[in-house]
Point group: C2
Chain length 324, copies 2
């Protein structure tokens, strides 16, 4: 039975991380209006959300600033334009991808920044570089998480080796990232047991970032809470790459800590999210994402299928089965 099995109590250590701009930005190239971002910031504050991830710290040498909205880069000026000095309880996070971030130059000292948390996103085979980024961010004064992507394709022994390396680094949170939306709650439970084993050993926390390919992002997230996972990613209306993420409205409806309030989330969705869809931004559960999730594949083929406005699901299934 789960730690919070009566479903009536809560655990103080649980933190909710709004990843709407960052993961959602992947489906609209980060072109959010300032009003959207400011309203989201205010909604998060009212809802009691713990962290708001504004986007990436992407390398401007690699990515053309004219082809993406500003939240791909999250400059200090752009952040302050929205949050001022952020004199609130809501902490600010950004993501830094291994191999796509000039972290030594683009991440300044925390004392000069409104950012609180650097989320280092890595594949398992990039852990040594991730550790260098973690050390850099920690030295600059930040909280740091390490988000290990595509975990549904990892060998358990490799994962254990990685968590042992990360355990000795100054990282604060190990993240389970089900990038492919391929995992079932039962598998999540076993994976969480491996993560928490190393987290307990090294005094770290564990987080989860789920995708909704099989409509299990919320189910996997609440499974994880019951397994001792503390940092929970969610996005408004599930907005995120492909099938999207765990829905913020579901998660805040579920969590029982009185500091959380789902009502501002409903208000924000009413004002902004349906409009985004009407403007043609596409995300969320659909057959092509279910298929890549089922086959434990990267969603890139399903994203291309979506972009091409294809609806020939059966043909697509044959294509990816052949590639499998």
């Amino acid at each position: 039975m789960k730690e919070i099995s009566n479903l009536i109590n809560y655990r103080e250590g649980v933190k909710v991380v709004d990843a709407t701009l960052r993961d959602g930005g992947l489906v609209n190239d980060f072109y959010f209006t300032d009003k959207f971002v400011r309203d989201l910031y205010l909604a998060n504050i009212k809802a009691g959300v713990d962290y708001m991830e504004f986007g990436y710290k992407a390398d401007k040498e690699m990515f053309d600033v004219n082809k993406f909205g500003k939240w791909k880069f999250c400059s200090e000026e752009d952040l302050r334009e929205i949050v001022g000095d952020n004199n609130t309880d809501l902490k600010i996070a950004v993501m830094a991808d291994v191999g796509r971030c000039d972290y030594k130059n683009d991440i300044i000292d925390r004392s000069e920044s409104v950012i609180d948390l650097i989320r280092v996103a890595t594949y398992l085979h990039q852990i040594p570089t991730a550790v260098d980024m973690i050390e850099d961010a920690h030295k600059k004064g930040y909280e740091v998480s390490c988000n290990i992507m595509a975990i549904s394709t990892a060998q358990e022994n490799d994962l254990r080796a990685a968590l042992d390396i990360l355990g000795k680094s100054p990282v604060d949170v190990f993240y389970i990232v089900d990038s492919f939306g391929a995992m079932y709650p039962e598998q999540l439970q076993r994976l969480a047991a491996v993560y928490t084993e190393f987290a307990d050993k090294y005094g770290k926390k564990v987080g989860i970032h789920a995708h909704n390919n099989q409509q299990l992002a919320f189910a996997n997230t609440i499974e994880a809470v019951g397994d001792g996972v503390d940092y929970l990613d969610a996005t408004y209306s599930s907005m995120g790459r492909g099938a999207g993420n765990c829905a913020m409205e579901l998660l805040l409806g579920f969590l029982k800590n009185p500091k959380y309030n789902v009502y501002p989330v409903f208000r924000f969705i009413e004002e902004h999210m349906n409009k985004l869809r009407e403007e043609g931004v596409v995300w969320g559960y659909d057959m092509q994402y279910l298929m890549t999730g089922l086959l434990n594949q990267h969603p890139r083929s399903a994203i291309a299928f979506t972009k091409d406005n294809r609806k020939d699901y059966a043909e697509f299934y044959k294509e990816i089965i052949i590639m499998d």
Copy 2:
């Protein structure tokens, strides 16, 4: 850990029940084209689905035959028009609601019918009438299930009393019906333990019919499989009342019995389900259904909200919180 916890094996006793016409009929008043119904029948056969529920046996004294499609009534002639003598492995089911079915007259002997399974739908306080219907159907030669609706509002002691009465009846399957989409997998696990306790005592099977208000219909269904529940309801593209049901495409993707095949499901969805939506038939996860699920309320207010094309989620939330 679950009985099928390696997720790689399967249990022979698991049965998949397609409820698309019956639960889906609630959102289009059962006006399906014959082509839709025939293609669905063929898709179910190819997919290895075990039972196909065609609709209700509704009382024509109570319901105007001019206001509903024929699957509200499921006459023997209409069934045979689609399935002939049904010389296939797919069994035929219909639902009979307590208080809305003239079962003594409208359900004929199984020897003269293509129907195999009568699903008696009841609220907990109607169990004695349900038992009368069960005895009637059993005497006529049918397999019989008892689908106890709105189970998320039941007191455990009342449920135990009901299952003890049903255990002594000739019913074959006890059904968990989360009509309000209010249950979390953990609660489902505890509820399944109560059901299976009585099922084991009396030699019955257990089934589950889930709703997707909190995007947990599939998660609750696979939780239930792991808890020993054998009869699993699903609908193509989740089509069903309000937020809809456990998606057939998710369920057949998950189940490992080689007799199941998800490909015909994808083909059917491609040909028929998106078209239904384009024609204006509305179902599926949305804020209003999440809200009634969260508050463990009947979805009727959310259905009215949907029918009125309202999108003022926050106002609706206030309305139902006040009624709560």
